[in-house]
């Protein structure tokens, strides 16, 4: 187990180095000159040369990369060209917003998607199965930026049940501890804040949950079907085990390994895919920060954000791999 863990952590480091290479070179091979960008079009040639020298832009690319990598190891991603904060600080401020949204969406997707998959998978071909699977096909085909707007229109405007965007009502501030409004509200212990933060989270979470929900339901169903036809399940039935127990102990448990893979992959995708949802609901999350930085060519923040998201993505995948051992004793032993 220790050796396995060590090799996986080694892989993680390799992937991150690869990602840093990709991010650095895409940012530096691009047309457009950072010095001109910083000083504006009217800067003199002498000023530009001086700034390029200061920034190390007159060095060769490999030297620049080595320098960049060394700085990153020390946690220094440069300074945001827009906010003048450390780039990593901007990323870390925005991250909890995205994390809260992604976790809420994933929880919702699991809580609804797995039962749907079980219902459909235990009654293949039934009306329920066909109904639910058609619904999930609609779910995966839905452009979520459109779904979000439609939900806003229905629940925010026509019915007027829920707020139409933002993190918290104006004038109602949560003391920042984790940066996640719901958790901070709970820490503050004020029911009013907790209620408000949940109301603001509801629509974005439902929107972002749609696609993972549909995928989790579909994979749960097909894994349940595959497992149900195996010999050990027939044996369990033949020896008179109650159906509920057969489903839970022999079908569901074995079907869960691939489902957990999908769930883990989805968390990584949700963290980066939240950008569309954040845009619709005006949430100051990491995805929105990335897009705004791209549009204003704030490269230090783009680099910091990209490396950070890739890091979290790879880390989540590692954790998912490790949980297999808990579910499947065969993997634990080997």
């Amino acid at each position: 187990m220790t050796r396995y863990l060590a090799s996986r952590v080694g892989q993680l480091v390799l992937v991150l180095i690869g990602v840093s290479v990709i991010v650095f070179f895409t940012m530096h091979v691009l047309p457009g000159d950072v010095a001109t960008l910083l000083l504006g079009e009217r800067a003199t040639a002498a000023q530009l040369t001086q700034l390029r020298h200061q920034l190390g832009l007159d060095q060769s690319l490999p030297v620049q990369y080595a320098d960049f990598f060394w700085q990153v190891l020390q946690g220094n991603f440069g300074t945001s060209l827009r906010s003048n904060h450390a780039a990593l600080a901007d990323v870390l401020t925005a991250f909890p917003v995205t994390l809260q949204l992604a976790l809420a969406a994933l929880a919702l997707a699991i809580a609804v998607g797995v039962p749907i998959g079980i219902v459909a998978g235990t009654r293949p071909g039934s009306v329920w199965d066909n109904l639910l699977m058609t619904a999930t096909l609609f779910g995966v085909s839905m452009p979520i930026f459109w779904l979000g707007l439609m939900l806003l229109l229905l629940f925010g405007d026509l019915l007027d049940w829920l707020p139409i965007g933002g993190l918290m009502p104006t004038g109602l501030d949560v003391p920042r501890v984790t940066g996640m409004t719901v958790i901070d509200s709970i820490i503050s212990g004020r029911p009013l804040l907790i209620w408000a933060s949940l109301r603001y989270l509801a629509l974005p979470a439902v929107t972002l949950a749609t696609i993972p929900l549909a995928m989790i339901a579909r994979i749960t169903r097909s894994e349940m079907l595959a497992m149900a036809s195996l010999d050990h399940v027939r044996t369990a039935r033949a020896k008179g085990m109650p159906e509920g127990r057969v489903i839970i102990r022999h079908v569901l448990r074995n079907a869960m390994t691939p489902v957990i893979t999908v769930i883990g992959l989805q968390l990584g995708l949700l963290l980066s895919g939240a950008v569309l949802t954040e845009t619709i609901f005006s949430l100051p999350g990491l995805g929105r920060l990335m897009v705004d930085s791209i549009l204003s060519r704030d490269y230090p923040v783009v680099q910091a954000g990209a490396l950070f998201i890739a890091f979290v993505f790879v880390l989540v995948n590692l954790i998912v791999d490790l949980t297999y051992g808990l579910l499947d004793p065969r993997i634990r032993r080997s």
Binding site: G125, N130, P143, L149, R221, I294, I309, F313
Partner: protein, 289 residues
């Protein structure tokens, strides 16, 4: 005590008939949507009641009516015409992005199968690396490097989907290599190039077709998504994602601007997904759930 009547067929077999019919219905719906979509890309100028760029400020933000069936936007441009012309951008995205991914991915897969050894190792490591990226993030980084715009966003999406094809083709190489007739033709002295072009490629047409159809839907959503974020097609071009972004600023007063382009994306993606599922079930019954 009554004994239960035992069904002669196992539970999983019984409803096959209903499922098959439903499958057929969903396949025809998928095919119908895809065909209509393709027809509209060609017929847009004939079917559209107005020029998609024509501004008519007197009918700005007018709701759906007999004059403007899907309403008009903030400049009085006819939404029906803009949505119809949007099929062209969507098809362009499918052709360019999905085509790029297919061409590059399949070439890489064949190359790694052809040369094997370190070429294969390098190509596959790069493919793994790209797959280790969350795909939307990768697309964002590429657009960041190239600059916003429709062409760049299509290239970005194309690159993001390339590894899937490379993996598919390499899998085909590995499985075809093991088959008896390939061993036989190798024993007869067939070159590796001949093996790739005569045996691997023709054997891969079906899975490539299935994958290309399933990816087409994703490509439409992703390019529209990038346009929605302001990184893809720029106004005033009638791209569904850009139309939605436009509509977002007005959606509380003029719901129709955002609603219909989104509905169009949904239908086209649904069509590709239904068709792709049907093709997969047809050609590879083992993989259908």
């Amino acid at each position: 005590m009554t004994t239960e009547i035992v069904d002669p067929l196992p539970a999983t077999r019984r409803p096959k008939g209903i499922r098959r019919v439903l499958r057929r219905v969903s396949a025809s719906v998928g095919l119908a949507i895809t065909v209509i979509f393709l027809l509209l890309t060609v017929l847009a100028p004939l079917v559209a009641p107005y020029d998609p760029y024509d501004q008519d400020l007197s009918s700005a933000l007018s709701p759906p009516s007999w004059i403007h069936l899907l309403g008009a936007d903030q400049y009085g441009r006819d939404m029906l015409s803009r949505v119809l012309y949007g099929t062209r951008t969507a098809l362009l995205a499918v052709v360019v992005a999905d085509g790029l991914a297919l061409a590059v991915g399949c070439t890489l897969g064949l190359l790694s199968g052809f040369f094997g050894g370190w070429v294969e190792a390098v190509i596959m490591r790069i493919v793994d690396m790209v797959l280790a990226f969350p795909y939307l993030l990768l697309a964002l980084i590429i657009v960041a490097a190239l600059g916003p715009g429709l062409t760049h966003s299509m290239i970005a999406i194309g690159i993001v989907y390339t590894p899937q094809y490379a993996r598919l083709l390499r899998g085909q190489v590995l499985s075809v290599r093991q088959s008896d007739y390939v061993r036989a033709s190798r024993a007869l002295g067939a070159s590796r190039l001949r093996l790739m072009l005569r045996h691997v490629l023709p054997n891969s047409v079906t899975p490539i077709l299935v994958m290309a159809t399933l990816q087409a839907g994703s490509v439409v959503v992703e390019t529209a998504g990038l346009s929605f974020l302001g990184l893809g097609a720029q106004p005033p071009s009638p791209d569904w994602g850009a139309l939605l972004a436009d509509g977002q600023s007005y959606f509380l007063t003029a719901w129709w601007i955002a609603t219909f382009p989104g509905l169009a994306i949904f239908l086209v993606v649904l069509g590709f997904n239904l068709l792709g599922d049907a093709l997969r079930d047809h050609f590879d019954p083992r993989r259908s759930a």
